[in-house]
């Protein structure tokens, strides 16, 4: 056994890591199954709690929430026809009809089995595919990194609904906020307005909490407050039908493998997240099925294809994140922020300079998938009861975590105050049809873009053409345009088929 393997084993296989993995996967399932709580929100609120942990434990916790949340979204999708997460939208197509036909347990166990197998296979692909990509990326210099950050911004195309201009403007807001305060290369102060409040700029975590978490509380609280007088119909949680048999599991494996491959390809593309992957995999499963007419009426293959795809995206979206430092979707954008907050810079050097941590995180993801299966078998029925929990209770609890988390970031009370105006700005942007996900991307990728832009300008004597004369950089920029077009087309197709 090599030294690296021994180090990974000793640092990964510890009691705290196991406990955190179990706790975070369970927390992820709970967060995922509650409509209105997102995986992104769960990860943002968990980040401050990871400050006291070592890096491996912290990221096992964050990935545990991601893995658990992707499965958890299917619980409410199947039981109440409301996906807990966007990526579980395709699961409603066959999951809910199965539940209505009295096959709730069957649908949930198909979802669990497919999620785990899809997630597990994608994590294996991540383990073996990421290092060679990182090796190639080691040759990259500032122009290539700048172009890569631009490539990362193509996520905007996937989250801007029908107006990419608004998406770009949202990103510009995030970029501008990320440039406030002390500039790292020259030490210049920018837009501080002579107040100490902005001297160090706006912290990444408080900004994410304000833009995503607290903003979601305002949006959800307003809609909940409006509907408060309407009677809530409690969910029938009686899940007593037989579970999935081994023969049924074996029959589903070809569908799961095909959907996983599709999701891995889609997942590595910036902007195309689990929702697109699950719809594409679902459509392919229906197209290639001997009985396409059964799709939409409660077929096992429908649930299996959608669920294996959305969990496979967890692993595949980490490939560009870990090897190139570019996020594949909103969740990985937050994970990128978490890496930065923990003092790590995702990119090819992660596999050489921080090999133990990086491989431990990847193998930890594989373990999280295994843990998901065990926890899913044991606790899905209990977790399903959480769907009935009123938002009034959840909302207050999220607010506690938002304020405590923003303060814990640096111990600076000013950062805690900042989350309120940021959340108000985000709410106004939301009202005017501006998605805040591009803002989040701008916030996270802003410093990376600026640093590599400035370095490129210094080495090329201020020639902007450097990004096009360097072949790899030029290729990445061309890919960015092509991917933006492809993702916009996929989004359009998805909304039409919806």
């Amino acid at each position: 056994m090599s030294d690296l393997s021994v180090q990974i084993f000793t640092q990964l296989v510890t009691v705290p890591n196991l406990l955190i993995a179990i706790g975070s996967v369970l927390l992820g399932i709970v967060i995922g199954c509650i409509p209105g709580l997102t995986v992104t929100l769960g990860i943002i609120l968990f980040v401050p709690l990871t400050y006291g942990m070592n890096t491996i434990t912290a990221f096992i916790g964050l990935l545990g929430i991601y893995v658990g949340g992707c499965y958890g979204g299917s619980i409410s999708a199947i039981l109440i026809n409301t996906p807990g997460t966007n990526s579980a939208l395709a699961t409603t197509l066959d999951g809910y009809p199965m539940a209505q036909a009295g096959r709730k347990n069957k649908a949930l166990s198909i979802s669990l089995f497919s999620s785990v197998l899809g997630g597990f296979l994608a994590a294996l692909v991540l383990l073996f595919a990421a290092p060679p990509i990182a090796k190639v990326a080691l040759r990259f210099r500032s122009p290539e990194y700048f172009s890569l950050a631009i490539f990362g911004m193509t996520v905007i195309a996937g989250v801007s609904n029908d107006n990419i201009v608004k998406g770009l403007m949202s990103a510009a807001v995030g970029l501008f906020i990320s440039f406030l305060g002390l500039e790292s290369l020259s030490g210049t102060l920018r837009y501080t307005f002579d107040t100490m409040l902005l001297f160090a700029g706006v912290g990444l975590l408080p900004a994410l909490i304000g833009f995503i978490a607290l903003n979601q509380v305002i949006i959800k609280a307003v809609s909940y407050r409006v509907e408060i007088d309407q009677d809530n119909v409690p969910v029938d949680n009686n899940i007593s039908d037989p579970s999935l048999t081994i023969v049924e599991m074996l029959k589903l494996i070809p569908t799961i493998i095909k959907s996983t491959i599709i999701a891995i390809i889609i997942g590595v593309m910036p902007g195309a997240g689990g929702d697109i992957a699950s719809f594409v995999a679902y459509n392919e499963a229906r197209r290639s099925s001997k009985h396409p007419e059964r799709f939409g009426k409660g077929t096992s293959e429908g649930v299996a294809s959608a669920e294996s795809a959305n969990n496979a995206v967890v692993g595949s979206a980490l490939i560009p994140l870990l090897t190139l430092g570019i996020p594949g979707d909103g969740v990985t954008a937050v994970l990128l922020g978490a890496f930065i907050l923990h003092g790590l810079v995702p990119g090819p050097k992660l596999f050489t300079d921080q090999a133990v941590i990086t491989y431990s995180i990847i193998i930890g993801l594989i373990f999280c998938n295994i843990i998901l299966y065990v926890l899913g078998r044991l606790f899905t029925k209990q977790v399903a009861k959480v769907i009935n929990l009123p938002y009034g209770v959840l909302g207050v609890c999220i607010v506690f975590f938002c304020f405590a988390g923003a303060f814990a970031n640096s111990g600076n009370i000013n950062e805690m105050f900042l989350i309120v105006p940021i959340a108000i700005l985000a709410y106004v942007m939301h009202l005017f049809g501006f998605s805040v996900v591009p803002t989040m991307l701008g916030l996270i990728l802003g410093p990376i873009l600026e640093e590599n832009f400035t370095r490129s300008m210094i080495v090329s004597d201020g020639k902007l053409s450097v990004f096009f004369t360097e072949p790899i950089s030029c290729g990445i920029l061309i890919f960015s345009v092509v991917f933006t077009y492809l993702v916009m087309r996929m989004n359009k197709k998805m909304s039409v088929s919806h």
Binding site: R190, F400, F417, I458
Partner: protein
């Protein structure tokens, strides 16, 4: 109240972008011998330019191409948004004045009113979670939270 979001959003971002660009010479002071593209001004300039150009495109979309997204602001609904924003502002101030724990208990009272929570079990769950958050941060994760008058304990 009906609002043309492309027109209003576009004009708003043009205004913000132009004002911030005009403020740039005073807000970012760099040495004269540093070329603009290598200076600390370049990145904010690009971001602000994106805002202004994007804003201009939205205005053109609205006025010339009549492509518009109408926002209907229902004041009866938005009063709830204002109320919860007010609660958050008050909560932040109370955290500074009386510390996290007491401010959180006050937040619970406000939110009970806001969400019209009547169930005692739910109120107890919220209170337990507030206290749990406080002790988890301080004792389990060793992260300080504000106490009375901005004094922090570990």
């Amino acid at each position: 109240m009906k609002i043309k979001t492309n027109l209003c959003g576009g004009l708003f971002f043009i205004l913000v972008g132009v004002v911030l660009l005009l403020l740039m010479p005073k807000q970012i002071i760099v040495q004269d011998n540093i070329p603009f593209l290598e200076s600390a001004k370049a990145a904010p300039f690009i971001a602000l330019s994106m805002m202004i150009i994007g804003g201009a495109i939205l205005v053109v979309q609205s006025i010339v191409f009549k492509k518009e997204q109408i926002l209907i602001i229902d004041l009866a609904v938005q009063k709830y948004a204002l109320a919860i924003m007010g609660i958050f502002i008050a909560y932040a101030m109370f955290i500074y004045l009386v510390g996290f724990l007491i401010a959180s208990l006050l937040l619970i009272f406000a939110m009970i009113k806001y969400f019209k929570i009547k169930s005692r079990a739910q109120i107890i769950i919220i209170a337990i979670i507030a206290i749990a958050v406080y002790f988890i941060f301080i004792n389990l994760f060793h992260i300080s939270l504000p106490e009375i008058g901005g004094v922090f304990i570990k």
